[in-house]
Symmetry: C2
C-alpha cells in the first residue's frame, strides 16, 4: 500500500560567523575584557566568554546586570568602539576554522542554499569573507540589518528570507548557546560546533540537534543532516563503477566495486 | 548505643592557580596561539584552551599528536620561551578572581591548611602571589619542583607533603579537567570552578565532587566541603546571642535570636 505524505524539502543552512566559520572568539573575548576594564568594569573573562554571540546591546546589559552598574547610551556606544579597536589590534591572529571553506564549497557545489547570519556589525564581519575565500556578494545578514540580535530570532529569519527558504526547513549552525536558542525561536533545528570553546553539554542542553567539533567534522558527517547528493554521476574507470556526487570537495565519494565491462555513463537523481 | 569509628580529619585545600585563583586562562590561551603560530603550527584556539593546565610538555605533545607534526626538544624549549614572552605582554590584564583573596583569608583565619599547586613555572607563577596579596613564603609547588605535571598527581602529592597532610584528606580545587583527573590519581576529592571557562558538565564528568562559579561562590558554600568553624565564640549584644566564628571574613556569621538577658561569654568547640 502506498502512503501519501508531503516530503520535507532539502535543508538549507544558516551559519553564525565568529567561532563557527572563523576562529575569532577568544580574540573577541580579550578585546571585550580590555574595553570594559578601560572604563573600570572588571569582569571575569569566562563570564564575557559565556555572553559572546549575544547582540552587543544585550551582551553589555547582561554583564552590567551582573555587576550592578548602569551605563548611558553614550557609554555603551563608546564601549562598542573600544571593543572594535581592541579587536582590530588582534585580528592578525584570526583564521578560518578547519573545514570552513570546504564545507561552504561543498554546499555550494551540491546546490544547497546557505547564508551567514552574525551578531557582529558589517564593519567587523565583512573582512571575514576574505578569510573564507568568499565573494563580496555572499548572502550575509549583519547586526545593522535587523532589529534584534541573538537570542532573538531576527538574524536567522532575515537570512532565511534572503535565501527564499523557510526557517523551519533550515539548520542553524553556531558555536554558542545564543545561536541555538535563537534557532529554536526561529523554528529551525540547531547544530552546535565546539570551535567557539563552549562545552558539548552546554550546546546539547540549549537544544542542539547534533554537536560537531568544527566545520571539518560537520562536513565529514553531513549525511546526519539530511544533505544528499543532488546530481550523482556514475563514472566508469577500469571496470569499477564509481558513484560520485557532483560536488568538488571529494568528501562524498562512494566506490562500488563491480565486475562490469562497460557501464553506461549517465547522470541521474539518487 | 554508642558507635565507635575513626573520624575523618578536617579537610585541607590544594589550589590550582591559573583560572582558579587568578583570571589568566584566556591570556595564556592567546599567548600559546601566538607562540605556536610563529613556528607554523595553526591550531584552533578552543583546542589550545582544552589543553591548558596540562604540563607544558604534555600539552605540546598532545597538540602535536593532533596535528601530526613532531618537534625537537630544542623546538619545545623555544616554544615555552615564546609563550612566556607572549604571556608577559598580556599580563597587565590579569587580576585575582572574585573571592580568591577572601577565600584564602578565610581558610587561614580558620586554621585550615592550604597550598597552591600549579603546572606553571616559578618565573610565571610567583608574581601571582602579589595579585592575591599573599606573602612570598606562601606554600606553593610549581612545575620545576616535581617530575610530572597534571594530569599526573605529583603536584598535588607534593603540595600535600609541604602541608604535612594526606592527599586523601584534601580537596583539590581547579578549573580544568586536568586538575580533576590529577586529583583522582592523588586520591583526593576535586572541586571544579567555572572561572577557567570550561563547562560545568565537563568538570562533573571528570569527577568533580562539587562545581562552583568561582572562589567567591565556593566561599559562600564552604559548608558543603566540611569546613567548620574551629573556634566559635558566642558574643552577646542587646539580648541577642550571636554565634560567630573566629574568622575575620564575616561570611560565616550565624545569628540566633533569643530572649536572653545576660548570656555567658565563652568560647567552645562546635
Amino acid at each position: 500500500m502506498a502512503v501519501s505524505y508531503v516530503e520535507s524539502p532539502s535543508p538549507s543552512f544558516l551559519f553564525d560567523l565568529d567561532g563557527t566559520l572563523i576562529d575569532s572568539v577568544y580574540q573577541h573575548v580579550i578585546a571585550w575584557r580590555a574595553a570594559l576594564s578601560a572604563i573600570g568594569i572588571d569582569l571575569s573573562v569566562w563570564r564575557i566568554h559565556r555572553r559572546i554571540g549575544m547582540s552587543g546591546g544585550l551582551f553589555v546589559s547582561a554583564l552590567l546586570r551582573e555587576t550592578g552598574r548602569t551605563l548611558s547610551k553614550d557609554d555603551i556606544d563608546r564601549l562598542q568602539l573600544a571593543h572594535a579597536e581592541q579587536y582590530r589590534a588582534q585580528v592578525d591572529g584570526v583564521t578560518a576554522l578547519p573545514g570552513a571553506r570546504e564545507l561552504l564549497g561543498f554546499l555550494t557545489d551540491a546546490d544547497v542554499p546557505w547564508a551567514i547570519a552574525t551578531s557582529g556589525y558589517a564593519a567587523t564581519a565583512r573582512p571575514a569573507l576574505g578569510l573564507l575565500g568568499l565573494a563580496e556578494d555572499t548572502p550575509m545578514v549583519t547586526r545593522d540589518l535587523v532589529r534584534h540580535a541573538k537570542p532573538d530570532p531576527d538574524l536567522f529569519l532575515a537570512a532565511a528570507a534572503v535565501l527564499g527558504v523557510e526557517a523551519r526547513h533550515a539548520f542553524v549552525v553556531g558555536d554558542s548557546v545564543w545561536d541555538l536558542l535563537a534557532a529554536r525561536r526561529a523554528g529551525a533545528l540547531g547544530v552546535g560546533l565546539l570551535s567557539g570553546g563552549y562545552g558539548r553539554e552546554e550546546l546539547e542542553r540549549a537544544g542542539a540537534y547534533r554537536v560537531y567539533a568544527d566545520p571539518a567534522e560537520m562536513l565529514a558527517r553531513i549525511d546526519e543532516l539530511g544533505v544528499r547528493p543532488l546530481r550523482p554521476m556514475i563514472l566508469v574507470t577500469q571496470g569499477e563503477v564509481r558513484h560520485r556526487t557532483a560536488c568538488s570537495g571529494g568528501f562524498r565519494q562512494h566506490f562500488v566495486r563491480e565486475s562490469f565491462a562497460a557501464a553506461p555513463l549517465r547522470a541521474s537523481r539518487d
